[in-house]
């Protein structure tokens, strides 16, 4: 096995281990909420479980998978060895140590604050420190991705960066910016309070900082799925990508629009003004643009593949696609769920309708459709 493959596999093993843990808790939560009698149901078990499910799905699975996928992309798309492999292993160990610290704190029952923290609720400092280590580890990954691309660019000054790497670096840049919010929240407000150094928490400020991270984090998760849409699905279907330019445009738009957009999680909060919320709402609508462009390009690429395989008529190309291939089936199913999840997102986005659904199971359904339907499936 090549050394970058070992590195990638190590990340994927951690990611899938976290996924199994999260699934186990998720199934038990459904059971606990169903009319069927479930064992161990107490509020402290339940909220411990929700915290473990959220942290392992949203932070551990995603971060490790994205880092592993990024190393794989850098080595295969750029066709040259990944720079700084020692750093990559260091960042793996750092992030793994952080994930284990957070897990220990959660399982000991001293961090049942859910994955969105809700200060002034406080958890064990070990929990917050663990999560900071995961984030710091991912920052090293971001730098490695940028370095890998600039080294390739120096050798190939006139060629465009391969689309997969272009998107990976867009994701790294976005992640460097957006994690500043949650890191500042933890290091400057939540951790000092958890250690007993401070006795008050500015809740309006912590919510604002967390929201800075909270929506772009979803695009951090979505980027690898979009990379798979653009660079793997058309080939798997036996066609070709309809347009490389529109792909690049989508990734740039996704990067630009996701930078300031997280505050739409605070539409029902008192501490931000109506005018500011209006601006955030406008930006949120614009984020739908790269997704709509992607849907067009990928559907067109799939149509080419279907027609090359002999599909005829307006919809004849759909049954002609090679659905027995996992990548094609995953793309198809993912589009179905992205349709419902994205449509739900358009509802959440307007603050008039937001008042109907804010903090209801509708929102849980929305992010599960996007997360399970687009991110995990791809």
């Amino acid at each position: 096995m090549k050394s970058f493959e070992r590195l990638t596999l190590a990340h994927l093993w951690v990611a899938f281990a976290a996924f199994s843990v999260a699934c186990f808790f998720g199934v038990w939560q459904m059971w606990a909420r169903s009319p069927l009698p479930a064992p161990f149901v107490t509020p402290d078990h339940y909220f411990l479980s929700v915290t473990a499910h959220g942290v392992s799905m949203a932070f551990v699975l995603t971060t490790f998978f994205i880092m592993g996928f990024g190393y794989f992309t850098a080595e295969t798309a750029l066709e040259r060895p990944l720079p700084g492999k020692t750093w990559a292993w260091l960042c793996f160990i750092l992030a793994l140590a952080g994930a284990l610290m957070a897990t220990a704190a959660i399982l000991s029952g001293r961090a049942s604050v859910l994955y969105t923290f809700y200060p002034p609720l406080t958890a064990s400092p070990i929990f917050y420190l663990g999560l900071v280590l995961v984030v710091v580890g991912s920052w090293i990954w971001c730098v490695l991705m940028i370095v890998a691309m600039s080294q390739w660019k120096r050798v190939n000054p006139d060629a465009p960066v391969p689309l997969a790497m272009y998107a990976t670096v867009a994701n790294a840049v976005m992640w460097l910016w957006t994690t500043v919010g949650v890191t500042a929240e933890i290091l400057f407000i939540v951790l000092p309070a958890s250690l007993g150094w401070t006795d008050t928490v500015d809740v309006g400020l912590t919510r604002t900082l967390f929201s800075w991270t909270l929506h772009p984090i979803v695009y951090f998760w979505l980027f690898p799925a979009y990379i798979a849409f653009y660079t793997m699905a058309p080939q798997a279907a036996g066609g070709l990508l309809y347009s490389d330019t529109l792909g690049r445009l989508s990734f740039v738009l996704l990067l630009l629009y996701s930078l300031p957009v997280g505050m739409h999680h605070l539409f029902m909060d008192p501490q931000q003004s109506t005018g500011f919320k209006l601006v955030q709402m406008m930006l949120t609508i614009l984020v739908s643009v790269p997704t709509l462009l992607t849907v067009f390009t990928i559907a067109a690429s799939m149509e080419i593949a279907g027609r090359l395989r002999g599909g005829r008529g307006l919809f004849g190309w759909i049954p002609a696609l090679p659905w027995e291939r996992p990548m094609v089936l995953a793309t198809g199913l993912s589009f179905v769920m992205l349709f419902f999840g994205g449509g739900g997102g358009l509802v959440n986005m307007g603050y008039g309708l937001n008042a109907m659904i804010h903090n209801t199971s509708w929102v849980t359904a929305h992010f599960h459709l996007i997360f399970g339907g687009a991110v995990v499936i791809m």
């Binding site: 909220f47 809740v203 029902m268 008192p270 931000q272 109506t274 067109a300 307007g350």
Partner: protein, 180 residues
């Protein structure tokens, strides 16, 4: 099958126009709702010290619940605290503007009133305020909708909407659930 560069570009421009049109339509609908219909979020930048909330003029025990203000405005004041609302039940008149004012002395809470457009977070340090008109009479459920600790799922209150003619305040302008 042979699609030229220009064909591809043309189809992409057409689709971009569809996307641009859809986005512009949504923009326009939201601006219309906000500026003309006054559908706006519950923003209310009004701070209060959570540590002395129970001593503040407004959120003292005696001042909670529904009251008709000097100007005739119906205002309901509620404290959200781990893990109960105070009061547990409030009365409001139907088909009349009502202002809900809430605050928290401890952690983040949030409320919605089922079947209405009332939905706001209750953030310690701030007074949340929602203006609404209740159109249906009866008892409406008002659960806490933000995780606030292990007792979160037990935290809920009742909003009792009564017809305008039955909504009779006492000498202090107050109306309590016990009367209904």
């Amino acid at each position: 099958m042979a699609a030229s560069e220009e064909d591809i570009l043309r189809s992409e421009l057409r689709w971009s126009m569809v996307v641009g049109g859809a986005v512009a339509l949504i923009f326009a609908a939201i601006l219309y709702a906000g500026l003309v219909l006054h559908v706006n979020p519950p923003s209310n930048i009004e701070t209060i010290d959570p540590k002395t909330l129970h001593l503040s003029a407004e959120f003292t025990e005696a001042n909670l619940g529904t009251k008709i203000e000097a100007g005739g405005q119906v205002t309901t004041r509620i404290v959200a605290t781990q893990f109960a609302f105070d009061p547990q039940c409030v009365v409001v008149p139907s088909n009349e503007p009502v202002t809900l004012r809430l605050s928290s002395p401890d952690v983040i809470h949030g409320i919605l009133v089922t079947g209405t457009n009332v939905n706001t977070m209750v953030i310690p340090g701030y007074v949340s305020q929602v203006h609404t008109v209740f159109t249906k009479t009866g008892d409406l459920l008002m659960p806490c909708h933000e995780f606030c600790g292990f007792g979160h799922s037990q935290m809920w209150a009742t909003v009792r909407v009564v017809p305008r003619e039955n909504f009779r305040p006492d000498a202090d302008g107050r109306v309590a659930c016990e009367k209904f």
